[in-house]
């Protein structure tokens, strides 16, 4: 919301800078997000002039030669604006003036120029050229009272506060609200100020005789109050300059003298008003109700909207003439011929207006205020303010012909009182407050003290809440009022008192951090992807034979990406594919993501879909970067497996591997990772088809995925010391010939049954022997805790192993090296 300082200064005067005022407002909760300065850069070359004479340009039909009286000179300029007449006061820019050039969209210095052969010694400015408003159709016409030669700066310059009002503070959506805030802050912080005018909200009863036949009926509990006046003999015209000036500076476009006054009063009091053309309400009847007779409605903006039965309407008994609190109807709109009007000021239910506005996707200045709460008792004072303004500005003698004021709820119902105690203030804020200070602040905010008790140093107040502060409900709300007016920065600060300081971090949080460090040490770069997938990504990365349904978003940011990911696959594939395309020279790629994945299985603790942490890693290209001193191999299943083993070992997790069944996603070079009989992950080469289906132009991509919740359950928290033998190790290399379908694990299991084996490694594999055989070479270390092993002892125990291997797996010894 924008409010010009000049408007505030109609009510209160002060000597501190506008920047300081803005700071005080901001600190107290009424945030001034910007101060827009009008006329900040206007120098003495911008002055008031008067159009004396208009002639046709000799060489151009659309241009005129205008002579301008600047009090000191009579200057002739070329002008193309359509709205010039002799006698007008205008904003005149002499050569040298710094003005906005709409064509170049920047400020520039005006130069003397020749336009179509005629010398122009300056320019008549449009509002946009002065950066006064966005208007550029014609010139800015100044008030008659402006003096020729007067600096434009003195006449028009202003500072405008752009305010961000929080949703609880409907009362601040008006000049009145901001003035009230300022008076309260100024007096609490002892800043000199002078109140120039008051807003009179007490004038409830006025003496107007209803001279016309017109009825009002409230037929819905969502309308609390409906007040209105009828006025005859209006002449629709332009508003006077001072009204237009305030509206423009507040960001509203002037329309005509009646509409402008409804807006003016809304900005000043916070009460939206609406003007109907009385002659267009043929039934002489207004009924506020909900119905569903008309499904469509054409509003003031000429847009046809679909209505429903929940929307509160202003009707003439039959047809809808306005949508309550949101927008007026095209069928009752005032136009240039209107002479009798009905001015509405009402109070509606906040949530009904909000719902209507949401459903129609239409937010107006009125609906914005109503949905935040407009007090029930502002209707009459606002109408009176409007009458004053209409009388003051209408050239004809206007006649107030009637006043109506219907209420559907007992107004007293909304009156409430709240307690304030010095004890609670101390408990919540941590310091004392004096009775004087508390009373002063609350009084200035409009609360009235109905009860007061003082016992020793403590006091208790009971206060009535003003109609415009429906947000004040509890004692703590009043505590905030006092604290914010004093200023949070002026309140004390003291450390918490507590016993324990050394708080252990939850294990899984630590394990995740440790995992990140391990991944980093292995050269993996961490990514964070949006956890949403499109249909193709969902289908192509789905775990084979998974029966889960996807979790779907109702209003995703991008309509295509509406599924929540159930794994990290497509994100990482996308990261790899995009980066390797963007950086073709990089030969080694390693990315990982540690993030949540979502499943439709309901977690019984939270009664929510399961959301577990998953680790995904992807690798492609060389094992590491290449340079003159280092010539690394390409990643393959076993280099990748080595990294997985390193990660699991460093996390202190026991593991083994089994065959992988996720054949839609992985190629046959893949495996399942097991820890304590539970599947904790999988890894291997991604199938070519999967990559093609995902449009990823990459090949030979390795991927691994871990369910971290399951994985971390298997972390053995401490290393247990194992005794070391004082006797030496003896090493033997053995080459075995076995059937191709025998896996190394089977052989290793049997070898490890031998208690003398202290270390085992596979040092050579040769695949292509005759008869479908392969050869595996093992390096075995033998060691005893009791003695140095003799050759004979080793031979004997080795022979037992060889027999077992022969018997169970048909393993033959190839040769001894």
């Amino acid at each position: 919301m924008k409010i010009p300082i000049s408007w505030i200064k109609n009510y209160i005067d002060f000597n501190i800078s506008n920047e300081d005022v803005s700071e005080l407002l901001t600190m107290s909760g009424t945030e001034v997000s910007d101060i827009i300065k009008i006329g900040n850069d206007w120098d003495s070359n911008l002055i008031v002039g008067e159009i004396k004479n208009i002639k046709k340009h000799p060489n151009a039909d659309r241009l005129s030669l205008v002579s301008i009286d600047t009090a000191t000179d009579l200057i002739e300029v070329v002008c193309g604006a359509p709205n010039i007449t002799p006698g007008q006061k205008i904003a005149f820019a002499r050569p040298g003036a710094n003005i906005y050039n709409p064509r170049d969209k920047k400020m520039s210095i005006l130069k003397k120029s020749s336009i179509r052969g005629v010398e122009s010694e300056g320019m008549i400015c449009s509002p946009l050229e002065l950066k006064y408003s966005e208007e550029h159709e014609g010139i800015l016409v100044l008030p008659k009272e402006a003096k020729n030669g007067q600096l434009l700066n003195d006449l028009l310059s202003d500072d405008i506060f752009d305010l961000d009002i929080t949703p609880n503070r409907a009362d601040c959506l008006s000049v009145m609200g901001i003035v009230r805030e300022l008076i309260t802050i100024f007096s609490a912080q002892k800043i000199d100020h002078q109140i120039l005018n008051h807003f009179d909200l007490e004038k409830e009863i006025i003496d107007i005789k209803n001279q016309i036949d017109f009825k009002i009926k409230i037929n819905s509990t969502d309308c609390y109050r409906y007040s209105g006046i009828s006025i005859n003999s209006i002449k629709i015209n332009d508003s006077p300059f001072w009204i237009k000036d305030k509206l423009i500076k507040s960001g509203l476009r002037p329309i005509n003298n009646i509409v402008d006054i409804t807006n003016f009063v809304m900005l000043e009091y916070g009460q939206p008003l609406h003007a109907f053309d009385l002659s267009k309400i043929k039934t002489k009847f207004i009924e506020v109700k909900k119905n569903n007779l008309e499904k469509e409605f054409i509003a003031l903006d000429n847009v046809n909207r679909e209505l429903n039965e929940k929307m509160l309407r202003i009707t003439d008994g039959n047809k809808t003439i306005a949508l309550a609190g949101v927008i007026g109807g095209d069928n009752s709109e005032i136009d240039s011929t209107t002479s009798n009007i009905f001015l509405e000021a009402a109070c509606f239910d906040m949530s009904n207006i909000r719902q209507t506005s949401k459903e129609l996707n239409l937010s107006t200045d009125a609906s914005y205020r109503f949905e935040r709460g407009v007090p029930y008792n502002f209707t009459i004072p606002s109408l009176l303010r409007a009458i004053t303004l209409i009388k003051e500005t209408n050239q004809t003698h206007v006649e107030i012909t009637g006043l109506w004021d219907e209420q559907s709820k007992v107004v007293n119902e909304t009156k409430k009182s709240v307690q304030f105690t010095s004890k609670r203030y101390k408990k919540i804020i941590g310091e004392n407050i004096s009775l004087e200070k508390a009373k002063n602040i609350l009084k200035n905010l409009g609360l009235t003290n109905v009860q007061e008790k003082s016992i020793d140093d403590e006091f208790e107040l009971k206060l009535n809440i003003p109609s415009w502060r429906q947000d004040l409900d509890l004692e703590d709300d009043l505590i905030e009022e006092i604290a914010r007016i004093i200023g949070y920065d002026n309140l004390s600060s003291s450390p918490m008192q507590y016993a324990e300081k050394n708080i252990p971090i939850e294990k899984n949080v630590e394990y995740r951090n440790q995992t990140r460090l391990e991944m980093k040490a292995m050269g993996y770069i961490e990514v964070i992807n949006y956890p949403v997938l499109n249909e193709s990504q969902y289908i192509n990365t789905k775990i084979t034979n998974s029966s889960q349904n996807p979790i779907e978003l109702i209003n995703p940011i991008n309509q295509d990406n509406k599924f929540m990911r159930s794994n990290l696959r497509s994100g990482l594939i996308d990261n790899l594919s995009k980066n390797s395309k963007k950086y073709p020279d990089i030969e080694s790629w390693k990315f990982y993501e540690l993030g949540k994945t979502y499943s439709s299985i309901i977690n019984p603790d939270f009664k929510l879909p399961t959301q577990n942490y998953t680790l995904g890693m992807i690798a492609n290209g060389l094992v590491a970067k290449q340079n003159w001193a280092h010539n690394p191999n390409k990643v393959n299943f076993y280099t990748f497996k080595g990294e997985i083993e390193r990660l699991l070992t460093n996390l202190k997790i026991n593991y083994n591997f089994t065959k992988n069944n996720d054949s839609k996603y992985y190629s046959k070079e893949s495996a399942t990772i097991i820890s304590n009989q539970t599947i904790v992950g999988s890894f291997g080469f991604i199938r070519k088809e999967t990559l093609l289906n995902l449009n990823a132009k990459i090949k030979n991509v390795l991927y691994a995925e871990f369910n971290l919740e399951k994985l971390f359950e298997n972390i053995t928290s401490t290393n247990k010391f194992q005794k070391i033998s004082p006797y030496p190790q003896a090493t033997r290399d053995l080459s075995f010939v076995v059937d191709k379908n025998i896996i190394a694990d089977d052989i290793i299991k049997i070898i490890n049954e031998n208690p003398l084996i202290s270390e085992l490694n596979v040092i050579d594999v040769y695949e292509n022997l005759e008869n479908g055989k392969k050869s595996l070479t093992f390096r075995l270390s033998y060691q005893s805790f009791n003695e140095t092993l003799s050759n004979k002892q080793i031979e004997e125990s080795q022979n037992k192993t060889l027999k077992l291997l022969k018997k169970n797996l048909n393993v033959e010894l190839r040769k001894q090296i």
Partner: protein, 334 residues
């Protein structure tokens, strides 16, 4: 001299030990003559068993040959290495050529910042929890004193999730605050926790807004917690993260689940105030919602955007960089 295996083993050991410490070509030559020369110890050994039986002679002979070959190899290697190091001493050496490429990866700046903030609060006595991202409307709004159809809901433009089985009214949590409720429901005061995690909003992305972002929520509940404690704790936190010289200020702000509500800005360079987090005393209605008596217990809660903190700290000026996952952006965060 005994013409047997043991002697041969000893000879081999002695020779290999001696050559290891030799540094000059001269000494190595002396060693060669001593062991491998025509009158050297190996020749001598061959001489010693020439009169034996052919079986024994053959066995010893082959063993001795092995040793001889072994020593010759030692000699060759040693001479070569000596030559090489001689050359290097006199030659130019370029220490500046790059080493074998170090392949250190990186941790995403969001997670680094998150970790740093978690550690800071842990030092101040806070435990760390996490919570669900797909959350129920009840926890995301209702229990936090944000009723349906209240304009306060406009603060959080929300992404809604279709019903999962018979679980209805689900959202992608628009803030980490629902965890305040879950923690208070499941723990007895005193409570001092922070809750980091992802949040989502239904809003357009620009330089400073992301629909997908991270927050850290904080909650303190005890019998004697007040606004002054909140100021002190959050100020202390800001100094841990942004440096001892950091200044902090608090102004009034509105969040329906706190009263009084506040916003903290910090000033740690260039004398400008940067909004860092929302905070406030836990609203009595929220305490009642979780069964705590507001006349006995009080506390404060706060929430800050991790990306915002990271942008301030690292000088990143476009939030969109965080999740574009570009290699050159990510690799900087070692």
């Amino acid at each position: 001299m005994n013409a047997n295996k043991t002697y041969l083993e000893k000879l081999k050991l002695e020779a290999s030990n001696t050559i290891e410490n030799l540094l000059s070509a001269e000494d190595i030559e002396t060693w060669r003559i001593n062991y491998l020369g025509r009158k050297g110890k190996i020749s001598e050994f061959f001489q010693s068993f020439k009169d034996m039986k052919s079986e024994e002679r053959n066995e010893l002979g082959s063993l001795a040959n092995n040793v001889k070959n072994f020593l010759e190899e030692l000699y060759d290697n040693k001479s070569k290495s000596l030559n090489k190091s001689d050359i290097q001493e006199s030659d130019f050496f370029d220490y500046s050529l790059p080493g074998t490429p170090n392949s250190a990866g990186s941790i995403h700046p969001t997670n680094q910042m998150m970790q740093e903030i978690c550690i800071a609060f842990n030092k101040l006595g806070f435990n760390i929890y996490e919570g669900p991202e797909i959350e129920s409307e009840k926890y995301a709004f209702d229990k936090l004193n944000i009723p349906t159809n209240h304009p306060a809901r406009d603060i959080w433009d929300t992404i809604w999730v279709k019903d999962v089985g018979d679980i209805k009214s689900l959202v992608l949590r628009p803030h980490t605050s629902p965890m305040q409720i879950r923690i208070m429901e499941n723990n007895e005061p005193p409570i001092r926790v922070i809750i980091p995690g992802k949040c989502y909003r239904y809003e357009a992305t620009d330089n400073t807004h992301e629909w997908h972002f991270h927050q850290i929520e904080g909650l303190v509940i005890d019998k004697n917690i007040n606004f002054s404690n909140m100021k002190s704790t959050l100020f202390e936190f800001a100094r841990i993260i942004f440096g001892e010289e950091t200044k902090a200020r608090f102004r009034c702000d509105f969040f329906p689940f706190v009263e009084p509500g506040a916003e903290m800005s910090i000033n740690f360079k260039e004398n400008t105030w940067l909004e860092l987090m929302g905070a406030g005393m836990v609203h009595p209605k929220v305490l009642k919602n979780v069964g705590l008596d507001p006349n006995i217990y009080s506390g404060f809660a706060f929430g800050l955007g991790i990306e915002r903190a990271a942008m301030i700290k690292y000088g990143i000026n476009n939030i969109r960089d965080f999740y574009a996952n570009d290699y050159q952006f990510l690799k900087q965060f070692k």
